[in-house]
């Protein structure tokens, strides 16, 4: 009896052990699968989520957003506010203080110079920086004392937590990247594939579009972390295989972005090996309607290139056409078939937080095929040559509709094609491998940034809780083009002076209510231009194996934001 009690006590003690006596590298190997493989480790050179998240293991920023969307200090000692004097009274500057004794993984100290350099790197006039919108309105970055960094804004900045906050805007080491400014940025392969960072892990080997191996950072600021000694970050495959490898076979510990039909995912989870976790943030599955001409007959300098309105799309710039396309869609049905509990229909590209969510467009929630037909008739689009497709002035309403390869997206495509055929719009479907589509390779014709199609569908979101930088995506200046190596977030090439003015206004408005109003106005302006047709406000489902502890899903930042705290649950 006594021995038994003792044994049970011993078992109980080991059960509590991992959390209590965690030390660096004690939990061995962590296997992560991202079915879209990262192509670079430098988030400034890619707009893709996979690159940003892979890089977030290594590169860090001053502050990050936790799973409930709150800002938490990361490399900074605390969050500067007006109250603690970190933000200037007139909102024209913010002063961060770096944590004491902060070192890069190569042992050298992190200084204000690195932040100044990162700003210079991303705002270099010749370079295409994918995250330039995080530095919008930043006039200069300067050192204050030993560990202080002051960011000066061109005008009062009510939400100053954009530059160096969140996974999209990390800090690069000056010593490593100083030769890589401007057009030479993509050429620094060694640096781009193995950046030196402050994060819990360092890159051991990087194989683009395949696999990354990380080892624990010897110089990480918390001596007890990370619990894992090595991380294998596997890319490639598809969402179904990734989900299966965690939920059914248990080969991997964590799988990202499992966009699978709800019935498929829940059946896999029933195997009992792992858990599906979903984070709701601002992700919206949407259609982008190309506002520039994507005619294959045009040369590379012209195709899908915005030329001050000269090179407009033959019909998608007409809001009536876009409206009809939107009205024909039954969002509730798409939700039911492809997303289930993981999504809800939406009519806004900015669906959350509540303060910023507009209600002006909610009419789109109800499908109205007849209304769409009437609208097109009224706009003069009629089937004059009897081929079943509406036309006007010899232009047929025929679109090429592309998206990434994913069963849910292909089902959605088929549904939308069916509805559009009912309003006399001919649709050709195309799907591109996700690694290529989101790969950001300027040489590939199939990336979502190049947009060599009329309409494309994917999901995007923004990190953090403030939509200012996100709404600045649709500035005229942020249109991808050959000049900026096709970087830029204004994918549909929307350009309006009034919109730019609103962005400008928001960047100088401090009052939260007014900011909400402005965000709604901007959202409504894009919605009513029908250059974006939102479909589903979706959660981001990921899955982790049941023996992996510490996962706190966040859609406000990188999903791997707290990977340093992850540990193995022994059983």
């Amino acid at each position: 009896m006594k021995i038994r009690t003792l044994l049970m006590g011993a078992v109980a003690a080991t059960a509590f052990a991992p959390a209590a006596f965690a030390e660096r590298g004690s939990d061995g190997q962590l296997n992560i699968i991202y079915w879209q493989a990262p192509s670079t480790m430098n988030p400034f050179l890619s707009g893709g989520t996979k690159e940003i998240e892979a890089a977030s293991l290594v590169l860090e920023s001053l502050a990050r957003f936790n799973d409930s969307g709150e800002i938490v200090p990361w490399l900074a000692e605390d969050i500067p506010t007006i109250e603690n004097g970190g933000v200037a009274e007139d909102l024209t500057s913010i002063t961060w203080t770096l944590k004491e004794g902060l070192v890069w993984s190569d042992g050298s100290a992190v200084t204000a110079d690195d932040l100044i350099f990162t700003h210079e790197y991303c705002t270099h006039p010749e370079g295409g920086c994918a995250q330039a919108s995080y530095f919008d309105g930043v006039a200069s970055v300067e050192a204050v004392g030993d560990r202080g960094v002051r960011i000066n804004f061109e005008s009062p900045k009510p939400f100053p937590y954009t530059a160096f906050v969140g996974a999209e805007s990390p800090i690069l080491q000056k010593a490593q990247f100083q030769e890589c400014l401007g057009t030479r940025a993509p050429e620094c392969t060694t640096a781009n594939f193995g950046p030196i960072g402050t994060g819990p892990f360092v890159v051991d080997e990087f194989r683009p579009n395949d696999v990354i191996t990380f080892i624990a950072n010897e110089n990480y600021r918390d001596p007890a972390k990370p619990a894992f000694a090595t991380v294998t970050f596997k890319g490639g495959g598809d969402a179904a295989a990734a989900a299966r490898s965690v939920l059914e076979t248990g080969e991997f510990d964590y799988a990202w972005n499992l966009q699978l039909a709800p019935d498929v995912l829940s059946r896999m989870e029933a195997a009992g090996k792992g858990t599906v976790v979903a984070a709701y943030g601002t992700s919206v599955e949407r259609l982008h309607l190309n506002q520039t001409n994507a005619d294959p007959a045009l040369g590379p300098d012209q195709r899908s290139v915005y030329m001050d309105g000269e090179n407009a799309h033959p019909f998608l710039t007409d809001p009536k056409v876009g409206q009809a396309l939107s009205m024909a869609i039954d969002r509730a049905l798409i939700d039911e078939i492809g997303y289930g509990a993981g999504g809800q229909p939406t009519c806004n590209v900015l669906p959350a937080p509540e303060l910023y969510a507009s209600t002006a467009n909610d009419g789109c929630l109800v499908q109205d095929i007849e209304g769409a037909n009437a609208l097109l008739d009224e706009a003069g689009w009629v089937d004059s040559n009897g081929n079943g497709v509406r036309d006007k002035d010899g232009i047929e309403l025929s679109v090429l509709f592309q998206t990434s390869t994913n069963a849910v997206r292909q089902d959605t495509q088929a549904l939308i094609k069916d509805w559009w055929s009912q309003i006399g719009v001919e649709t050709e479907l195309r799907n591109v491998d996700a690694s290529v589509f989101f790969g950001g390779d300027p040489g590939s014709p199939d990336t979502f940034q190049k947009f060599y199609a009329d309409i494309e569908m994917y999901t995007n979101n923004f990190a953090g809780v403030d939509p200012e930088a996100y709404m600045a995506n649709w500035l005229c200046a942020d249109i991808p083009s050959p000049e900026n190596q096709w970087q830029g977030n204004n994918i549909q090439r929307f350009c309006r002076a009034e919109y730019d003015a609103l962005v400008e206004q928001m960047s100088t408005t401090a009052d939260l209510e007014q900011r909400g109003e402005l965000a709604k106005q901007m959202n409504d302006m894009i919605m009513q231009s029908y250059s974006i047709i939102p479909l589903i406000h979706r959660g981001n489902p990921s899955a982790h194996i049941n023996t992996l502890g510490g996962v706190k899903m966040s859609d406000w930042d990188s999903e791997l934001w707290n990977i340093a705290d992850w540990y193995r649950i022994d059983n």
């Binding site: 699978l260 390869t405 549904l415 799907n431 014709p445």
Partner: protein, 325 residues
């Protein structure tokens, strides 16, 4: 008695024999031999059935394979009623529907059209190229070296990466000229055709090398027959049996390659059904709806198997040395 017998013997040897049976054509012999091969007979019959199924099928089964019918999605095939009387079935959808309510019977027919068309076209293309290269290399000694090195070169090309590159390079121009589906068809057929002719070329060359040293070719040359005529009249008919075999194998390979491409998501547009694509789309729901994987999978397997048997039978039947044994 003995004298008389000897007389008759001599006489009989000199006399023209009356044919005991009706004269038989060569193709009659081929058919008789072919009939003895049970597998080939069944294989041929099945291939004929499949071809008729996809050609005449749409006339009989007039359901649009692309039409969505969400209210009737996820129907099971009617045969599930045998063991599950609660199954969600509809008699107007004998093989059930997929998760968007598309009729599986109709998509199988449409998918078969695409898969078989790709198979036949690619097979014929590779056959023509392979035979031409093989005959030329075997007959004309001067061209032999260079043609065989080119064959080696093509043999070393990996087909899938090549196809992926070709899709990126040529999709746009072909799409502009022939439309999305036509363009892709030409591309896939072209690539499969030009990467699968090499075995045929090698086999044909080997046969030709042996044949052209035979006496009947020498005889033909001695009376001044031109090389072209020798090839046409004397050589090609003698290599028809290996050509037929590689043709049947080629058809099977082409169908499988097309399926692999659809499975990888390159190739035809996502709503254009082919057997391979139906199969790959169904994989995530394999446990719940096994029929969606089984039906196209069985069709692909049976078609390929029957083609292989057919080839085996044809080889036996067409080779005069084996025939009759």
């Amino acid at each position: 008695m003995t004298d008389q017998n000897a007389e008759i013997e001599t006489f009989g040897a000199l006399k023209d024999k009356e044919p005991q049976k009706e004269p038989r054509s060569q193709w009659r012999d081929v058919w008789d031999q072919f009939r003895k091969h049970k597998g080939a007979l069944i294989g041929g019959g099945f291939l004929l059935f499949i071809t008729l199924f996809v050609l005449i099928g749409p006339l009989v089964w007039q359901v649009d394979p692309k039409a969505l019918d969400i209210r009737n999605k996820d129907l099971r095939p009617v045969y599930t009623l045998l063991w599950d009387s609660q199954a969600n079935v509809l008699w107007s959808r004998p093989f059930g529907t997929d998760n968007l309510g598309r009729d599986i019977m109709a998509t199988l027919i449409a998918g078969g059209q695409a898969s078989l068309a790709v198979g036949w076209a690619a097979m014929i293309l590779s056959l023509v190229i392979g035979t031409m290269v093989g005959v030329t290399a075997g007959y004309f000694k001067r061209l032999d070296g260079i043609l065989m090195r080119i064959t080696d070169l093509f043999l070393s090309l990996p087909i899938l990466p090549l196809l992926l590159v070709a899709v990126t390079l040529f999709r746009q121009p072909l799409r502009a000229t022939f439309g999305p589906e036509g363009g892709m068809f030409i591309l896939i057929v072209g690539i499969i055709g030009i990467t699968s002719w090499m075995p045929t070329a090698r086999i044909v060359r080997g046969e030709i090398l042996a044949l052209k040293e035979r006496e009947f070719v020498l005889a033909a040359r001695s009376i001044g027959t031109t090389p072209f005529l020798i090839i046409r009249r004397h050589l090609l008919p003698n290599v028809i049996s290996p050509i037929m075999v590689s043709a049947t194998l080629g058809l099977a390979t082409a169908i499988i390659t097309e399926s692999a491409l659809s499975f990888l998501g390159v190739g035809f547009p996502s709503d254009f059904p082919t057997w391979g694509k139906l199969l790959s789309d169904a994989v995530p729901r394999m446990e719940e709806f096994p029929e969606r994987v089984m039906l196209p999978g069985i069709l692909i397997s049976l078609t390929v198997l029957s083609v292989n048997y057919l080839g085996d039978g044809l080889r036996d039947a067409l080779d005069p040395r084996i025939r009759g044994r």
